[in-house]
Amino acid sequence: MIYEVFRQERKGQPLQHAGSVEAANDHFADVYAREQYGRRGESTALWIVPRSAVIAIDEFVDELNRNYHRVDGYPLKEKLKEARERAGTAAAHGDR
């Protein structure tokens, strides 16, 4: 069985995916995860989850093309640059 392992590096921090271990059962998974992700003091906590318990989503369909929900397609960088240029020009005008 494959178990996904999440580890917390320091108290208060979120647990992040560290990797996975293959183990015959929960007990083996516990021992192997400790060995690989906790033995050198690199973790303050581990979560060990059977991969079968993970609800995985990797498809995001936008049937009605409601792209106004998305944050892409809005070139903030460009707009900021333009705004800065305008402000710079304005400042230059002001100096005169």
Partner: protein
């Protein structure tokens, strides 16, 4: 530390060194990668325990841990034959691991009661790591307890485990120890005595 205590620590140190060596022979070929890492780590711990025990005796004898570990002839080692066996079968290896940890727990418990604070302190430290070895051994025992090959190995090796707790049953060695010694001390013997590594 009196002579008898030194002798006892040498027995345990030799057991740990030789078993650590044997267990390390599984590195790279254990049944699965995770177990490879776990068992190699156990092997390394055992050799670390041997080193700490040799250091304690070395101080009493005015020598070094390396000299005690590598500069004796095979017949001077005090390890029990059980740890010398070159086991090529995982079920047998786990059977030995289980029997060894069972006996080791008993003798560490005794050492922790020693009146010598250095011995008791070291035994306590070693026992903290051995606790993980026992969890590992127990977990494999639970997994294989109904496998005939494992049960048979356990019964066959059990009589040999008695020597782990009985100094009187030590001193005789298997032919396999000579081969292990040959390999283990090869690099050290290739350099003149007193070489600083």
């Amino acid at each position: 530390m009196n002579e008898q205590e030194q002798q006892l620590l040498m027995e345990i140190a030799d057991d740990e060194l030789i078993l650590g060596w044997r267990d390390s022979e599984w590195t790279g070929i254990a049944p699965l990668l995770e177990e490879d890492v776990a068992f190699s780590s156990i092997a390394q711990n055992e050799i670390g325990h041997a080193r700490a025990l040799y250091e304690l005796v070395a101080r009493a004898r005015g020598t070094t841990a390396d000299e005690l570990a590598f500069d004796r002839s095979p017949d001077e080692y005090r390890c029990a034959p059980l740890v010398e066996l070159r086991l090529m079968d995982w079920a047998e290896t786990i059977a030995r691991h289980y029997l060894y940890e069972e006996a080791d727990a008993k003798r560490l418990e005794q050492l922790k009661q020693s009146e010598d604070p250095e011995i008791a302190g070291l035994a306590t430290k070693i026992d903290r790591e051995e606790a993980y070895h026992r969890i590992h051994a127990q977990m494999w025992f639970d997994r294989l307890r109904d496998e005939p090959r494992f049960v048979e190995a356990l019964e066959r090796l059990r009589p040999q485990a008695e020597a782990l707790l009985d100094s009187a049953q030590r001193g005789e060695h298997t032919a396999e120890l000579a081969d292990l010694w040959e390999e283990m001390t090869m690099v050290r013997r290739s350099q003149p005595a007193g070489t600083k590594w």
